[in-house]
């Protein structure tokens, strides 16, 4: 029997993403509710080990497309292959993790198949054979239930770190079917790639230590004499300050984030920005240092499991969302906290 549920396996540098495992887990739940098996869809230059991992994590079988032209993810190429596979299999649900790649891929596949896409889904239920997906809109101020009723498959991208990633069963195996890699004409060309510094991706991080405009507030740091401009001095101070955040993040195996104010002031690059116009994150622990907690910042981190605020101002709005707080100067608290955690966690 053909699967009613397909799941897309996103990967990078030959590694399956944690978000893909979470999507497999979510898709398996949907498949069970629909009384169906689950098929993993894997595209790339080399797909064998990825397909095997998808099956170990819950897929019943896998369809793979392999081609040198699929080495770099290019949305046009991937979309053509995926759309063709879905046309052939005619599943009811197509689930993907929400990543930069899959957002574009799902968008294009939906055009090819004239169907709808629900990105950033945080919950779903199966009702009368239909999938009812919940997703945050308006920067998380509202939740909407979404139904794709007019066409199939229902394309659902699930948000990272919301659904648990299933445990692997190394003994499990299943059939792997090779499908045609009908890539078609691909106009774009990937010239190069530069990984972001820090290593841990914000969207995957279990712990995030975030800094706001408050990080610039250390008058006792003396910038080198060659920096004379006041704004440059402020940036220099803040960049030294972010080093304290990096050390705390490293002690916890986490990533560093920032508010828009910190990014706009030039303390850290935009890739660090958390919030409505930055990244949306849901770590287990979010430590906000010198962040006031503006509504647009909260939009990006309010789903964090535990929020800790470190702020000089006891009235800062961030304390309304935080589970734990320290009222104090981050320049005094952070080094002490890093030292304390290193000692207690044995690092």
């Amino acid at each position: 029997m053909a699967s009613k549920v397909f799941v897309y396996v996103d990967h990078f540098n030959g590694q399956i993403l944690p978000a893909s495992l979470e999507a497999i887990g979510a898709a398996k739940t949907a498949a069970l509710a629909l009384g169906s098996s689950l098929t993993a869809l894997v595209l790339g230059e080399q797909t064998q080990s990825l397909a095997a991992q998808a099956i170990q994590h819950g897929a019943d079988d896998a369809w793979v497309a392999e081609d040198a032209k699929l080495k770099d993810f290019r949305p046009e190429a991937y979309a053509s292959v995926v759309a063709k596979a879905l046309q052939e299999a005619a599943p009811e649900v197509f689930m993907l993790p929400t990543t930069a790649r899959t957002r574009e891929l799902a968008a294009m596949v939906a055009v090819d198949l004239s169907t709808g896409v629900a990105p950033d889904v945080v919950a779903f239920e199966i009702k009368d054979g239909k999938l009812l997906a919940t997703r945050p809109v308006y920067g998380g101020k509202i939740f909407a239930k979404v139904v794709i009723s007019q066409a199939l498959p229902q394309i659902v991208l699930i948000r990272s770190r919301v659904f648990p990633g299933p445990e692997a069963d190394p003994a499990k195996s299943g059939p792997v079917k090779k499908i045609e890699a009908a890539v078609g004409e691909v106009k774009s060309e990937v010239l190069g790639y530069k990984p972001s510094d820090g290593g841990v991706s914000l969207t995957d991080a279990a712990v995030i230590v975030s800094g706001g405009r408050g990080v610039s507030n250390n008058p006792s740091l003396t910038p080198p004499a060659e920096i004379t401009d006041e704004r440059e001095k402020e940036i220099w101070r803040a960049q030294q300050g972010f080093q304290l955040l990096r050390e705390l993040a490293a002690a916890l195996g986490g990533a560093v984030g920032a508010s828009r104010a910190a990014v706009d002031a030039g303390y850290v690059p935009y890739a660090f920005q958390v919030g409505q116009t930055g990244k949306v994150v849901s770590p287990d622990l979010y430590i906000a240092c010198g962040v006031s907690g503006a509504i647009q910042h909260l939009a990006g981190m309010r789903t964090s499991k535990t929020i800790v605020a470190i702020n000089k101002d006891a009235e800062a709005p961030i304390f309304k969302l935080a589970r734990f707080g320290i009222v104090g100067d981050l320049y005094e608290v952070l080094p002490a906290l890093t030292k304390e955690l290193r000692a207690r966690l044995g690092k």
């Binding site: 540098n13 709808g116 945050p136 809109v137």
Partner: protein, 260 residues
């Protein structure tokens, strides 16, 4: 360069958005140009300033969306067009992309289309890629920098911001580019620009005008909207005589509660 920039009108991000009678409401908060689209307009203007040509701002929406287009005109766009039709109700991205692609085709001989990365109301971030797919043009999303643009050879290179880092991609024109905030700093509309925008003609195209005979149907509906579950938090402010004592108390609590 014949450039189109697509803009949407959205509630201000500072608006208090609530649900009233099963409908989303932002009270009397202003409707503004989608903040992401200001970066797209700026990048479109800079491209024109460097390579010549013209910039047309394009929007799909009700009559009120003219205000977002006027903002784009006041920033310096040469022309603006609104697509508005009573046949379009509650459009999803499939409908929006079909309409925008048809309008772009009508504008004709377009080299580049700019989008903001997403709209701050529906938050989907897929419309740009869908328009590209419909037109058969390359889609370059999450663009943080245009690293090269050769108008004569009709090619563009960009740096894209992926989750894992930066990717450099090259594509032939015409292409669709959706931008992130890092790409530029949007200019403020000038006084002269605002005056010009208030007088500029603002044609409204119907579906028939862009060659669509039957209104496209949404594949997706929002049968229910609701306020997010209230997060019941009571902040436990950790006390201590010194920063070190506070830090120690916090570490102890985080470990006790199995947060770490």
């Amino acid at each position: 360069m014949n450039i189109v920039v697509c803009v949407k009108q959205t509630p201000d991000t500072a608006a208090t958005v609530t649900v009233q009678d099963g409908k989303v409401s932002w009270g009397d908060s202003p409707l503004v140009i989608n903040p992401w689209d200001e970066f797209a307009v700026e990048q479109a203007l800079r491209t024109k300033e460097a390579h010549g040509g013209k910039v047309t701002a394009l929007s799909l929406g009700p009559e009120s969306a003219k205000e977002a287009l006027k903002h784009a005109l006041a920033m310096g766009c040469d022309e603006a067009v609104l697509v508005s039709d009573p046949g379009i109700t509650a459009p999803d991205s499939l409908v929006v992309s079909a309409v925008l692609a048809a309008a772009i085709a009508k504008i004709g001989e377009v080299d580049l289309v700019f989008f903001g990365r997403q709209a701050v109301d529906s938050d989907t971030g897929i419309t740009g890629a869908q328009v590209a797919r419909r037109l058969g043009w390359p889609s370059l999303s999450l663009v943080a920098a245009v690293t090269a643009l050769d108008a004569a050879a009709k090619s563009i290179s960009v740096a894209r911001m992926l989750d894992e880092g930066r990717q450099e991609v090259k594509a032939p024109l015409p292409a669709v580019v959706s931008v992130v905030k890092e790409i530029c700093e949007p200019r403020y509309p000038s006084f002269m620009g605002i005056r010009k925008a208030s007088k500029a003609p603002l044609p409204v195209w119907s579906l028939a005008d862009i060659g669509i005979s039957a209104p496209p149907q949404s594949a997706l509906t929002w049968p229910e909207v609701f306020a997010p579950p209230k997060i019941e938090t009571r902040c436990e402010v950790v006390e201590g005589d010194s920063p070190a004592a506070k830090a120690a108390a916090l570490a102890a609590r985080l470990i006790e509660e199995k947060v770490i």
